[in-house]
Amino acid sequence: MIEEKVYSSICPGCGLGCGLYIREKVEPTGDKTKPELSVDFRKNAPVNAGKLCRFGMNLPIYYGKIPNSKVKGKKSSLKEAVAAAAKALKAASKENMAFLSVGMSTNEEQLAFSALAKTFSCPVETGMEIYAAFPETVHKALGYGTGLEEIEASKQVFLFIDPYVSYPLVLRRVLKAKRKGAKVTAVGPKSLPLADENLSLEPAEYGKSLAPTQASILLSDLHPYSDPTQIKAILELAETSGAKLLFLRPFVNSKGATRLAKHTKQRSFEKLLKALEAGEIKTLFCLDSDLSELSLDPKRVKKALSNLDTLIVQASRSSPLTEFADIVIGAEPFYQKKGSVLNAEGRLLKTGGDSILGFKALAELAKALGKEGLDFAQVQKKAFSSFGLSETDEFKPEKAKPISCGNFELRAGFEKKEKPKNTKKEEQTQKAHFSYNFTPFMWQGLEDDCNFVELNIRLVQKLGLSKGGSLNLKTPDGETQMRFKVSALAEGVVLSEKKIKGLVLPRDEVELSR
């Protein structure tokens, strides 16, 4: 008989961690790595009241297949994979090792992974180089959270994100604020239907063009491709106005992972890639972090990874990296995990399952490398106390704190890429600034129905594009044909929710033609 198990879990699609139920059916004789899953609405969840975005609704596809453990491409037991990983790590040189975990695992696993990395005196990389761009005195402010309820209570909401595509469960809170009379200002290239005013501004203009007050809230996000100059401008705006500030995050445990990591040693994905390409990293251990899914250039990642001596992957779902890795430690899917995550608001949430398979594998590895006695309960306690909390409580987000960073200089900004060379005749082409509108699908490597770029009607007319047709995008790395959608965008902007080869940094310049 088919038995159904219901997990009261959270969505791993972004740093909100929306509550939901996962219904899992396993046939006794069926494929254990491919349970039949469905998503159900958990209306009592305080983060999202049971509502989900398109990514949350697609979780059964995202979870897909539970990865088999593997050693050198051959299916193995978990124990064999752990033993092989221990052997490979012991043989590796600590000078060219790297440990990557961006925040798609539990706090408990993250700490066990840190303990393992520490045996090699290595940090756990989270891809958040942005922290390295800020002096340490500012890190605390970057880590502050506040409940989504604060949005509803605000008189003015400033959006530096597009809640229709990024962190979509923020949208309803902004709509509720608006219904109560709040004014909504959207700062970005796209006009948002819910905004009272839409402004396309450079960070340097924020101070003089925006006038938040103490009754305002600023909503932005911190992710591996965030522009430090923009984040600095937002921090300054919050500090001078006394407005509340909430940085959203792309991964379910981005906040927990970042707080548990050492910020200053972080490298960007680009720098990690360069180090891989230069052969400076020879052993890479990824914990639920598929660099090819996270990077904006998956093909480049695959090539760079071939320079490794050993790629060890501990994963909760099958992905390109589990196909490619030398050793795969196949852990339980996220919804089955026992443990916690710290969401972007600072709510300490339970992941909802009862398995600590993944944690135990890491503890075993750490033990093999000399770090004895990683006990789940003790590790959990340590994680909680480092957040200043004693237990999970989904009903208690962090309380907003005033931003106080003082004057500071950025240590680094964005590298600008070279502009594409113009080959077509001037009148046939149009230059535009390219921007990504990051969605959970982009971060998690899941296909979405978005095989198009967005342009405004004037750009479409100038290029003479016909409805239903496509356009040519010339990037620093070559040319790509894309379909297009007409949107209310600022002049000279192209927006995409799909990764486009060669377009990495926000505001790259591209050349468009028919």
Binding site: E4, V6, S8, Y21, V39, D40, F41, R42, K43, N44, P46, N48, A49, G50, K51, L52, C53, R54, G56, M57, Y164, V165, P168, L169, L171, R172, L175, K176, P193, L194, F395, D449, C450, N451, F452, R483, F484, K485, V486, S487
Partner: protein
């Protein structure tokens, strides 16, 4: 709870049309139960005695949360007693898809029972094998609203709540310190809180479309607060009751005339209120015509993020993955209203129950049930057809509207589903009136 006298009634009184007061023989079940624990006793007895293979019920997680489970464990059923007004779930979607071998019993509010019947019309449920134990329903509340009411109106910590009930139009919360806190639902609704909007205009309060219709209205005298009023609607319903009596799980008494009248009266008042609320909500929308109406719909839908939750949750939609609403839609289009919505409004205009599930799960806070009902109400009125009330009548868009006399039965005759002409109409009209009042036979 005091021990009860031996009931005068025997299994013989249990026949279609009977109106009884029933209760669980087990004192603990009565204690846990919403009124007399009868529903839980019926479900448990059906499972225990093999009348059904499984029971679909709610597993309580907290005062404001319960999850539907399909179980074959009698113990799990026994744990499921009590009404949860802050669990606005529709159970129909949790029945196994398709016509299978399993016989299943479930508690069913009117919208649950109506959804099951609509699904049965689409061959997604086998009604013969489904036992619907209907629950009267005055409405349910979204748990997010419940928590908000507790904090802002009752001034109570939601974690301090140990129970709740609705008595005489008041929503009462019990706190762990043993105190009672009552506020009238009208007062809560004036503040924009209280029941979900669709429940305020829901037009079926007594589930006469189920096998049994159970509730606390009409429980009078010594049984007040400790018995369940049950109306036997079908032979299947009678079987469920007889089975529970034979198994020693439940007892029944014929209902008092006074109780029967009280139940009818409350139902009439509730339906009148629903109609008033319906007018209040829909008149301003209906007053908008042409471009103004289009604008209303455009504005209402402008925040849609295309998550698909409204479709996934809809208990009457059985189209699955390959459906017209999704295949005609692309996110690449820049239409002000996507074809997804337009197709759905039309597709559901003959079957939308107004159950509110779509609106509950919409992340863009779109008043979806209102929008669907704007399409469904004219169809309902034109055909005088209430979706989900009878398994015999197919969805009306499956039929042609006959012009000769405007009566739906010509359509049914053509489809070979009725044999006689509209001379039956006066008789049917009477029945339909009864159906509107929740009293008797439906078309």
């Amino acid at each position: 709870m005091p021990e009860r006298p031996e009931p005068k009634a025997k299994a013989g009184v249990i026949k279609v049309g009977a109106k009884l007061i029933g209760w669980a023989t087990d004192a603990k079940l009565r204690e846990k139960g919403a009124s007399g624990g009868l529903v839980t006793a019926l479900l448990a007895a059906a499972l225990k005695k093999g009348l059904v293979d499984k029971v679909l019920t709610l597993k309580k997680i907290s005062e404001f949360e319960a999850v539907p489970v399909l179980t074959s464990e009698v113990e799990e059923v026994l744990q499921s007693g009590g009404s949860m007004h802050s669990v606005p779930v529709n159970l129909a979607r949790y029945l196994p898809e398709g016509i299978g071998e399993q016989r299943i019993a479930l508690p069913a509010k009117p919208c649950d029972a109506r959804a099951v019947i609509e699904r049965a019309k689409r061959n997604a449920v086998d009604l013969e094998k489904t036992f619907l134990i209907g629950l009267n329903c005055g409405g349910s509340i979204h748990p997010e609203t419940t928590r908000k009411m507790l904090k802002t109106v009752y001034r109570l910590d939601p974690e301090e709540i140990s129970g709740e009930e609705i008595v005489k139009g008041k929503l009462i919360f019990f706190t762990k310190d043993g105190k009672e806190h009552a506020i009238s639902i009208d007062e809560l609704e004036e503040k924009g809180l209280g029941r979900r909007e669709n429940c305020r205009y829901c037009s079926v309060k007594i589930p006469i479309n189920a096998d049994l219709a159970c509730g606390n209205w009409g429980v009078t005298g010594a049984f007040a607060g400790q018995g369940t009023f049950v109306e036997v609607r079908t032979e299947k319903g009678a079987k469920l009751l007889r089975n529970a009596l034979e198994a020693g799980f439940a007892k029944v008494e014929p209902a008092e005339e006074k109780g029967i009248r009280v139940r009818e009266k409350i139902n009439r008042i509730m339906l009148k209120l629903s109609e008033k609320n319906r007018q209040e909500i829909f008149s301003p929308i209906e007053a908008k015509q042409g471009p103004e109406r289009l604008k209303y719909f455009q504005k209402a839908l402008e925040n849609c993020i295309h998550c698909g939750a409204c479709k996934a949750v809809c208990p009457v939609c059985t189209c699955g993955e390959d459906s017209k609403c999704t295949s005609y839609t692309s996110r690449e289009d820049s239409y002000k209203i996507s074809l997804f919505h337009l197709v759905r409004f039309l597709h559901l205009s003959d079957s939308c129950l107004g159950c509110g599930q779509c609106e509950d799960v919409c992340p863009a806070e779109i008043p979806l049930t209102r929008l669907y009902q704007c399409f469904a109400t004219p169809v309902r009125e034109a055909f005088d057809y209430m979706p989900g009330m009878s398994a015999q009548t197919p969805p009306y868009f499956a039929l042609k509207l006959e012009k000769e006399c405007g009566c739906q039965h010509h359509g049914l005759e053509k489809a070979g589903l009725e044999e006689s002409s509209c001379a039956k109409e006066p008789e049917r009209e009477g029945k339909r009136e009864g159906q509107r009042q929740g009293q008797g036979g439906c078309c």
